[in-house]
Symmetry: C2
Subunit: 257 residues, 2 copies
């Protein structure tokens, strides 16, 4: 990996892990990835797949908080998987490295291609995903990495959830972070695959509309949709609310479990 | 209408209007109807249909708060429309009566039958609905009125939203109160008919899951789903939170408009 100024090493969870990321281009990880990782219960101990992992922020955050989780970062961009592999090699991440691995593959692969890439059927206990979400008007962006990470394609959630359903074990959970506008498509795509769905809206401030929704569901479960209490990121004062700060830094979970 | 003990007259909005309701049987109006009415903006001044109005609580609440709204209560149960008509005749409701009327019809009617019943195409500026929501295990209830009001039928939201789309004018709004578990079905049924949808979850307490969701959308609009800040009904102390109390009593609206 180039050691010039085009990459940065950023600290997360108050220094508990570090990530190599492209500087000033590509999709840089941050809040969304930390919130998504917060959908995984504190006592989770199985195999987790981070689909469309980018540089691996969400998967790293799960590995840092859940000491027995084994995390597979699935990402199609060679530039981003190079970052993820470099992050695994960082001395600062030495404690996590044995439980982290990278699969360079498109989440949309199916059948034999998907299995050959290293994503075996029914082999994961938890799936997390932060699918690309910018609409078609972003296709014109000149930055190829950013375009790959952000462009929304027709039926993307259905495509990704088909893969998630195939590679997850019976009773496995799934966690998704998305724009609120995508909730209808997500619920439709979950239907028949995952159930007992829980939704949690994330608001910048208590009186503003949601900027994200986190959805969690369980494979083969049959319960109806529930709404958890909203998460508010910022209060009256500067910075994050105590609850948001705890979740973002791996000291609490979104669903309190 | 019988003047025996089988009916009650209940005050709403701190006495601003009164409703005749069956005592101890049927679906008695309360919180859901007041919250649903709160989805209508304070300055609303057109024609509103309350679909599946029961005794008319939500429609009465809109008429009491929006001084120029004309409200049509649509209800198939003769027992409930009798109550609604009696409520319109109550001296206490004299100020509202000229703006309230009753259509005894099944919301599921279509085409000529619906128009003949008094529900003309494109004739309403706002539709509100609190569709029956109990699942099939409630069908065994011995109370016929309660059964009519509560039993969920397959595709109910699609059926009711087809009627709502037909009778609403271009640009008209719709407000729905339902269980959170119905949101997926509601979003699917809105699709292609109503857009720029807003959802607002209602929680008994700040840390408990939602008990209801209120959905509002606009006919022919194209915006994506948004989540408004949640409404919490009860705080640390006895009774309602100030905001919930204001909405339930017609002094504020759910969407602050």
């Amino acid at each position: 990996m180039p050691r010039d100024g085009s990459f940065t090493i950023d600290a997360f969870h108050r220094g508990r892990f570090h990530l190599v990321q492209p500087a000033g281009k590509g999709h840089r990880a941050g809040l969304d990835a930390m919130l998504l990782a917060g959908a995984v219960p504190g006592n989770f101990s199985g195999r987790l797949a981070d689909l469309g992992a980018g540089a691996g922020a969400a998967g790293f955050a799960v590995a840092a908080r859940c000491r027995e989780a084994r995390v597979v970062l699935v990402e199609r961009s060679p530039e981003m998987t190079a970052c993820a592999r470099e992050s695994i090699r960082l001395p600062e991440n030495g404690m996590l490295a044995p439980r982290l691995s990278v699969v360079e593959a498109d989440v949309g692969l199916s059948g034999r291609e998907r299995r050959s890439a290293g994503l075996a059927d029914r082999s994961f206990d938890f799936i997390i995903m932060n699918p690309p979400f910018n609409a078609a008007h972003d296709r014109a962006t000149p930055d190829r990495l950013k375009r790959q990470a952000h462009v929304m394609e027709d039926g993307l959630f259905d495509c990704w959830l088909r893969t998630a359903a195939a590679i997850s074990a019976p009773g496995a959970a799934i966690g998704i972070i998305a724009r609120p506008a995508s909730l209808g498509e997500i619920l439709t795509a979950l239907s028949g695959r995952f159930g007992s769905t829980e939704a949690l809206s994330i608001h910048a401030r208590a009186q503003s509309e949601a900027i994200r929704v986190v959805v969690r569901a369980r494979k083969g479960a049959r319960g109806g949709l529930k709404f958890r209490p909203q998460l508010v990121l910022h209060g009256e004062e500067h910075g994050f609310t105590p609850r948001a700060d705890a979740i973002i830094n791996g000291r609490a979970t979104l669903f309190d479990d």
